[in-house]
């Protein structure tokens, strides 16, 4: 379908892209602070973001462009099962409310910038710090690559072919992230989120009215799934229920272990900012639920696509005038820039604090940290770009899936220490290794499917492999803690928590 260039869409797109580029560079002066003198300034925007900025920033980087493309694509392909993103992004907020303010307090009191800083602060273990930092960096790379894929899908729909538009967009992104740090995506998130809200609200009102109402939309999708057969449908097959619930729970526990979401947490002004956001952020979840329904609307609109990822752009292109389609595509593409920027900043903070400072230059100054992080953010982005340009797209998808399972294994190290000092670093490290090892091996041997199965009393239970790996992780950590406690009863003193 990407045969001729859609000039109207493209003009609207270029206008908004230029707008956010100017904002991205201008952001260095916003909420004035010496961006290059301290990592708190470049990497956390000065730790001063209040409720609304945090709402836009976390909303903008947690609900990524890829989500806008991939969730409706999955719903289009398999139906109800694709909706697990909805319970996932609901139950994540009680968790955020209960845990993240505690994490913020520890980080704030000790000047921590990353999750690995917090872990090192609590346990005083370089090994555990490195494990958490490496996991964060490795899990983030393919996630950035996916944002590029999301952007590529809409650019292709407007008739631009080749790789250069993405390369160009990414160079621009890399430059203003370099100069402005976290202030750039925080400012751009305002534009991006408002655009996405407009697009989705228009779509969920206008599209069904063109297609005969939601009843007709669901009926068309139901008929299509009935014809298609297999594990598809408007409700879950009995065998899909446990995978659905375990994917939702596992994803929710993993969501705020990622460097980009944690960066949003650490950049907040206060613990109360985070609590208020746990109340307010579900507004985005409502939006996500409605976006997911675009997958069904495609059936009612008789959209035919080569790959499910084209569903959303094709729907907008078919049902809307080209200027509005251009607006929608800009929203999605800008939606890719915000998370890509925050992810690269989160990964750069990890590299600077937990690799460079810990192993290369322990005496580094604050300005030196900011300088290293700026360079590292460029490196991360180049890596993600190379990933997309030189490796098959499927690798990015597979690695992102594995990344979710890996990042979930940092959960015990990061979260348990906020509540209890019972676990020992050695145990947590062993648990982390066991979870990553078993989880990766299981996912790999199942052909990179995120599901594992277990037989209990002759009944086979299928569940999300990441959650299984987390259970193994915790069990191993607990057993190892007990054994190490027997061998070395005198716990070596770790730095005191404040």
């Amino acid at each position: 379908m990407a045969d001729q260039i859609e000039w109207v869409s493209l003009s609207v797109f270029i206008f908004f892209f230029a707008l956010v580029t100017v904002m991205g560079f201008f952001a260095a002066r916003w909420k004035a602070g010496p961006v290059s003198e301290h990592l708190d300034e470049w990497g956390l925007g000065g730790r001063q973001f209040g409720t609304w900025i945090t709402w836009f920033l976390v909303g903008g980087d947690f609900y990524t462009a890829y989500t806008v493309i991939a969730v409706p694509a999955l719903v289009y392909a398999v139906g109800a099962y694709g909706f697990f993103a909805l319970p996932y992004t609901i139950i994540v907020y009680p968790f955020v409310f209960a845990v993240m303010p505690l994490l913020w307090k520890v980080a704030h009191a000790n000047g921590h910038v990353t999750a690995a800083d917090v872990v090192q602060g609590i346990y005083g273990s370089r090994g555990l710090e490195l494990a958490v930092a490496t996991t964060g960096m490795v899990a983030t790379m393919p996630y950035i690559a996916l944002q590029l894929i999301g952007m590529g899908v809409v650019i292709k729909t407007m008739g631009l072919t080749g790789e250069w538009p993405i390369v160009l967009a990414f160079i621009v992104l890399a430059l203003y992230t370099y100069s402005s740090g976290l202030r750039a995506p925080a400012l751009i998130a305002f534009v991006k989120d408002i655009m996405i809200y407009i697009v989705v609200l228009v779509a969920v009102v206008v599209v069904p009215s063109k297609l005969g109402g939601y009843g007709a939309v669901f009926a068309a999708a139901g008929d299509a799934f009935a014809a298609k057969g297999g594990a598809t449908g408007l409700t879950l097959k009995p065998a899909q229920m446990l995978p659905y619930a375990s994917l939702a729970l596992g994803s929710a526990l993993a969501a705020f272990m990622y460097p980009h979401t944690l960066t949003g947490i650490f950049a907040s002004k206060s613990a109360d900012t985070i609590r208020k956001n746990a109340v307010l952020l579900p507004a985005y979840t409502l939006l996500l639920g409605l976006i997911a329904l675009l997958g069904y609307m495609a059936y009612a609109a008789h959209i035919k696509v080569d790959t499910p990822n084209d569903v959303v752009p094709a729907l907008f292109k078919t049902l809307f005038p080209s200027w509005f389609a251009g607006f929608a595509f800009s929203a999605i593409a800008i939606g890719a820039l915000v998370p890509a920027a925050v992810m690269s900043i989160g990964a750069a903070n990890l590299f600077t604090r937990n690799v460079w400072k810990s192993y290369v230059n322990p005496g580094i100054s604050h300005a030196g940290e900011a300088a290293v992080a700026k360079i590292a953010s460029l490196g991360v982005k180049v890596g993600a770009l190379a990933f997309i340009l030189f490796l098959p797209t499927q690798y990015a998808l597979d690695l992102q899936l594995l990344g979710g399972l890996w990042i979930l294994q940092t959960f015990p190290a990061l979260v348990f220490g906020l509540f209890t000092r019972w676990f020992r670093a050695e145990g947590l490290l062993l648990g982390w290794a066991a979870g990553i090892g078993w989880g990766s091996w299981t996912a790999w041997s199942n052909g990179l499917k995120p599901l594992a199965s277990i037989d209990l009393g002759g009944v086979s239970y299928v569940f999300y492999v990441g959650l299984g790996a987390l259970v193994l992780n915790i069990v191993v950590a607990a057993i190892a803690t007990v054994i190490v406690g027997l061998i070395l009863p005198n716990r070596q003193s770790a730095p005191a928590r404040s």
């Binding site: 909706f83 609901i90 746990a278 507004a283």
Partner: protein, 59 residues
């Protein structure tokens, strides 16, 4: 109060509660409007817990 935070987990992770099409609402099968309804409900529950907790010492 904190137990209120567990309700969304119970309501959404026990899938047999809601894995059916009827009763539908505004054309949405039950499976969909039930889960969408949990968005404002969860928000409300978190807000209730937020209001009742003792405030932070000033940072």
């Amino acid at each position: 109060m904190w137990v209120l935070l567990l309700l969304p987990f119970v309501g959404l992770l026990w899938v047999p509660f809601y894995n059916f099409a009827e009763p539908s609402l505004f054309g949405f099968p039950f499976f969909y409007w039930y889960q969408l309804a949990w968005v404002p409900i969860s928000s409300l529950l978190i807000w209730l817990v937020y209001r009742r907790r003792t405030p932070d010492e000033t940072p």
